[in-house]
């Protein structure tokens, strides 16, 4: 079930973020993820930032392993399991994306697919600073309207992307909001969505081991993010005590998020 692929292209998206492309024939839909194995090192869940036969993942330097993944050259062999998990429902017409940091990785292919089907997509992108904004050009050239926010105000709204999203939701009508980023951020987006009656969909990250709905590493309330998610309707998730407050560490302990 594990396929060995070779990295055919490496794109430095931002100072901290790299996209790796590889050939992989498995059927995949926007929202799904793969278990990406750097042989001799760890295996991590990574959303597909490119679906189709020339797939891609977009990795941000977080901890040791992701940092090492950033450094691998074209030609490196990787193990790929999956695609796994739930998908975005692409049938909606007016879509708002709210992406925080590398969270935009999973939203980009969903936006492209929706745009290709004739949807109107607005993307609210947040980052710490201007050059950390991810996939702004990609989304713009696909036909999305773009709004940006940076923590340091180097470009766009000076502040949180959640503020931007709230404004957009009050200015126009959206059939759905897709969001991926830190849980506290997503919870705020859910609140904004509720206040205007727009359904919000989360893409959730949790520590993963099996990705088969077996080992319980990724449990979140009654759900297993690897099979019940990562794409969830916000109302299933946002009300859980744990969400935005706790996550499970590799031992299964609940620790502060």
């Amino acid at each position: 079930m594990r396929q060995i692929v070779r990295v055919t292209e490496r794109v430095q998206e931002t100072p901290s973020t790299v996209t790796l492309r590889f050939d992989h024939a498995g059927a995949a839909a926007p929202g799904q993820f793969v278990m990406l194995w750097l042989p001799g090192d760890d295996e991590l869940p990574m959303s597909l930032s490119w679906v189709g036969d020339r797939k891609g993942v977009t990795v941000k330097a977080m901890g040791d392993t992701s940092r090492r993944i950033l450094d691998i050259p074209v030609g490196t062999r990787l193990g790929v399991r999956g695609p796994y998990g739930t998908k975005f429902d692409l049938s909606r017409q007016r879509v708002l994306l709210v992406g925080g940091g590398s969270g935009t990785a999973v939203l980009a292919p969903a936006a492209e697919a929706a745009l290709a089907q004739g949807a109107h997509v607005t993307a609210a992108l947040g980052a710490t600073t201007a050059n950390e904004l991810l996939f702004e050009d990609r989304l713009r050239s696909a036909g999305a309207k773009i709004a940006v926010a940076t923590d340091d105000g180097t470009v766009g709204h000076h502040g949180f992307v959640t503020e931007l999203a709230d404004r957009l939701l009050h200015e126009a009508t959206f059939d759905v909001v897709w969001t991926c980023g830190p849980e506290k951020m997503m919870r705020k987006v859910a609140d904004s969505g509720r206040s205007v009656g727009a359904p919000v969909v989360f893409s959730v990250e949790r520590h993963m081991k099996c990705a088969l709905g077996m080992c319980d590493a990724c449990s979140l309330g009654p759900f297993h993010v690897c099979v019940d998610g990562p794409v969830f309707p916000a109302e299933q998730i946002a009300r859980l005590d744990e969400f935005g407050r706790f996550k499970r560490d590799p031992s299964g302990r609940l620790v502060a998020a």
Binding site: R2, W37, P39, R77, D216, P250, S251, G252, R253
Partner: protein
């Protein structure tokens, strides 16, 4: 309709299907989810004295739908934090059996006692886990150690103690008899078979730990042989484990001598709904096969036939 209640060492279960240790067992809500899906009860992840992260990924490999290889490395939140998970499951009325592991008899007794105080109905000792320093795989495969560990825990607690045995042995009956001598109220078998996967492209083992444990359909014939041999030799009840996915699989274990069964890998291949299928399907199938009850089927394949030799042919 045939009755499907199971009585395991005095514990009454609404049906004989238990969630196997290590599957959906880290969080109380998952334990509850398995019960609500139809399980008769649940066995927790194996819990040790302190939190353990387990091995790095890759920790699993699947072989089509017939086998699963894993080397999780016993990740667990530790017995200090785990009681809150048991509490959550118990609050929902779930019959919980607490699985524990440790490096020696005293360690087992200590973790076992603390697990008992969470209100679990029984303990299952994971005697088939071999990476505790200083003892290694001897814990589970040396009858003397098995007896010592079981005795220490039995003395430390009041609830029934089940010894979970390894199939990686020349003589599982000796291990079962040792557990019985130590005072075990029952034995569970099997844990996974020592196994490995190698990727030829990468020229390396797939699992980060190299060696792992095989489970799923592939080990069902091995688990049945173990339960069969144990039933012939022991008087305590046996919990059958290994590759159970269908009602007929579970009945085969009952016929071999299992009084209850645990289901693990099938959850990965078919989702937790497998417990619904099993519990809904069992009564009708027992009827069809002419059994009045699950209990009626226990050991029934041993009746009236000359017992096979315990020799391995070929």
């Amino acid at each position: 309709m045939a009755a499907v209640e199971a009585n395991l060492a005095g514990i009454r279960l609404r049906n004989p299907f238990l969630l196997a240790s290590g599957i959906w067992g880290e969080s109380g809500e998952s334990l509850r989810g398995a019960y609500e899906a139809g399980a008769g009860g649940v066995v927790t992840k194996s819990i040790g004295a302190v939190p353990r992260d387990g091995y790095p990924n890759p920790t699993v490999e699947t072989f089509e739908s017939w086998g699963m290889l894993n080397a999780m490395g016993l990740p667990n939140p530790g017995i200090v934090e785990y009681p809150q998970e048991v509490a959550r499951a118990r609050a929902a009325g779930v019959p919980v059996i607490g699985s524990v592991f440790a490096g020696d008899a005293d360690g087992f007794a200590d973790v076992g006692r603390r697990m008992e105080s969470t209100g679990v109905l029984a303990l299952e000792l994971n005697l088939s886990c071999p990476h505790a320093k200083g003892l290694g795989s001897e814990v589970g495969s040396d009858p003397g150690e098995v007896e010592r560990v079981v005795r220490a825990v039995v003395r430390a607690v009041k609830i029934p103690v089940l010894a979970k045995l390894t199939p990686n042995t020349a003589d599982v009956v000796a291990l079962g008899l040792a557990a019985e001598r130590g005072g075990a109220a029952g034995v569970s078998a099997i844990n996974t078979l020592r196994a490995m996967s190698i990727d030829v492209t990468l020229r390396r083992p797939v699992l980060a730990n190299g060696l792992g444990g095989l489970s799923g359909a592939a080990v069902k014939p091995v688990g049945l042989a173990v339960v069969w041999q144990l039933f012939d030799a022991l008087t305590v009840p046996i919990v059958g484990i290994g590759g159970i996915r269908t009602v007929d699989d579970s009945i085969a274990y009952a016929l071999a001598g299992a009084r209850a069964v645990e289901v693990g890998t099938a959850v990965a291949f078919g989702g937790v709904g497998v417990f619904g299928e099993l519990s809904r399907g069992l009564p009708g199938r027992l009827d069809e096969l002419g059994f009045r009850s699950w209990e009626d089927a226990v050991g029934a394949a041993h009746a009236g036939r000359s017992r096979p030799t315990s020799s391995v042919p070929s």
